[in-house]
Subunit: 222 residues, 3 copies
Amino acid sequence: MRPALAPHLPIVFDLLGVLTASSAGALTGVRKNLDLVGVVVLAAVTGLGGGVIRDLMIGAVPVAMLTDWRYLTAAALAAGLVLLGQHPRVLGRDLRVFESLRGRVPLGTAYLVADSATLGCFAVSGTAKALDYGLALVPAALMGVVTAVGGGVVRDVLVNEVPTVLRRELYAVPALVGSLVVAATDRYDPAATPIAFLAAALTMGLRMVSVRRDWHARLPQA
Amino acid sequence: MRPALAPHLPIVFDLLGVLTASSAGALTGVRKNLDLVGVVVLAAVTGLGGGVIRDLMIGAVPVAMLTDWRYLTAAALAAGLVLLGQHPRVLGRDLRVFESLRGRVPLGTAYLVADSATLGCFAVSGTAKALDYGLALVPAALMGVVTAVGGGVVRDVLVNEVPTVLRRELYAVPALVGSLVVAATDRYDPAATPIAFLAAALTMGLRMVSVRRDWHARLPQA
Amino acid sequence: MRPALAPHLPIVFDLLGVLTASSAGALTGVRKNLDLVGVVVLAAVTGLGGGVIRDLMIGAVPVAMLTDWRYLTAAALAAGLVLLGQHPRVLGRDLRVFESLRGRVPLGTAYLVADSATLGCFAVSGTAKALDYGLALVPAALMGVVTAVGGGVVRDVLVNEVPTVLRRELYAVPALVGSLVVAATDRYDPAATPIAFLAAALTMGLRMVSVRRDWHARLPQA
C-alpha cells in the first residue's frame, strides 16, 4: 500500500479533471458548431477518455467512470454549464449570470484555462492511481501524461485534427513535469498533499505561460 | 445473477449486430473504392470494434471475438457477401441472385438498413452484457450506446471522416433509447425477451425514420 | 503451457519490433516536420501502440510496456538515434558516423526497412504471446497482425492520414502469412525457434518485395 496522498486526494483531482476537461471538450464542440448530441459526446470523450485509457492500461477494470457515478455526473454537469453559457435562453428566460459572463470571458481564454487545469489535475491523479496499482516511477509518470493528454487526443482525432500534443507547442512537457514531481515525492508522505497541489499548479502554470509566451520545442533545421 | 434475458439472447443480438455492422463496414469500403484487404479490414473493424471497446471497458477479457469463433466467422461472412454482391463475377461465373439484387437495392438503402439494424442489435447486447458484468442501469445503457456506435466511430476515424455520431443527425439518441429500455426493464424477467426485440426494433425504427424525415438535434443559434 | 518457442524468444522479437517500429515512427515525425516532443510521441505511439492493443485485448494487464522497463528504453533509444541521425549537431559537435550515413541512406529506404522489420518481428511476437494466453490458432494469428499493424495505424490516425493497411498495398497480408506460420507450427517445439526467425524474415521480405514490385490486392472494376 501507498499511504502517501490522503486517500481521497487522487479521486478529487480525477473528478476535477473530468469537470475541466469536459468543459474544454464542450467548448470545442460549440466552436465547431456541433449539435446538442455532438457537444455532449465531445464533452464526455474529452473528460473521460484519458482516464479510460489509463484504467485500461494499468488493469483497473471495469473502468472508474462505469463504477463511480460521480464521473458521468461531472461530465454531464460540465457539458450542461457550457451549453447554458452559450445558449442562455434554452431554459425559456434570460439567465442573467451566464448572459453577463458571456460577453466578458472570451471563448479562447475559457478554453485555455479549462485545458491547462485539466493537464494539472490529470497529471496528479493519473500518476497517483498508477502508483497505487504498483507501477514504477517512470511508467507511473507516463500514465500521468497519458491521462492528462489522452482525452484531448481522442477528441482531436474525432473532429479530424492533428492532436495538440504533436504540434509545435509545449503540451506534454508541462504534464510530464507535474507527473514526475508527484512520482518522485510519492514516498515522502507527510508532504504529499501540498506537493500534489503544487504539482497540479506547476503543470497548469507552465502550460498557460508557454502558450502566452509562445514557447516551443523546435528542432534545429536539418 | 441476472436471470432476465434468456441466457443465449445477448449473444444472439451481439452476433446479429456483427453481421449487420460488418456489412455496413464492407459497404463503406466498397464505396470508398478500397482494395480487397481494405474492405475486409473495414468490415472487421466496424463489426467488431464496438464490442471490443465494451469488453475492454467492463473487463471482459480476452475480448469475446478472440474466444468465440462465431464473431470472426460472422464478420468474414458479411464481408464475403458484400464483396460477392459487388463483384458477382469473382467466382468465375455470373451469380444470378446477386446480379439481380444489385440493380434493385441502392447502396445507400442497403447501408441505412444495415447501419440501423446494427444500432438496434448492439444497443440490446451491449446493455445486457454490461448488466451481466454488474454495472448499474445508467452505465450499462451507456455501454449499449458505446457498443452500438463504437465500431462505426473507429471506421470513420480510419477513413478520415468525422464520425456520424458528432454530426447533425440523430444517431446516438436512438441507441440510447433502446439501451435505456433494456436496462430499465431488465429486472422484470418474464417480459425480458420480447422487450429485447422491441428495444432493438425501436432503435432501428427511430434511426431510419430520423434519417428519412431529416430529424436533427440542432442547437439554437447563439 | 506452450513450450514451443525458447521462453525468451517472444520478448526478444517484441523488443526488436519496438526498436524498428519506434524508428519508423520517429522518421515519420521528422518527415512531417514535427517538433522534438512530437517526434518522441510519434515514435512511442508507433513502437508501443500495437503491443498495447494486443495486451489489452488478450487481457495481459498492466500492459507489458508499463511493467518491463526495456520497452520504454527501446522506444526512447530508437527516437534518440533517429533524432541524432537527422540533427547530428545537436550534441554540439559533428557526429561523423551519422553525418556520413545521412547522405547515403535515403529516408524512404530507411523507413521501408524499419517498417518491414516491424511487421516481421511483431507478427511473431504478437502471435506467440496470444498463444501463451491460450488463444486458438486463428485468433492468435489475428493478434499477430494487430500487433504488427496496430502501432502504424494509431500513428497514421494521429497525423491525419488513412492508414497504410487500408490503402492499395500489401500490408496486412505479409503480417498474416508470418503469423499463420507461427501459429500453425507452434506445437512442433523442436523447430519453433528457427521457424520464428523464418516467419519474421518471410513477412519482412514479402512486404519489401511487394512495395518494390508494386503488388496490390485490387478488386475487379464493378
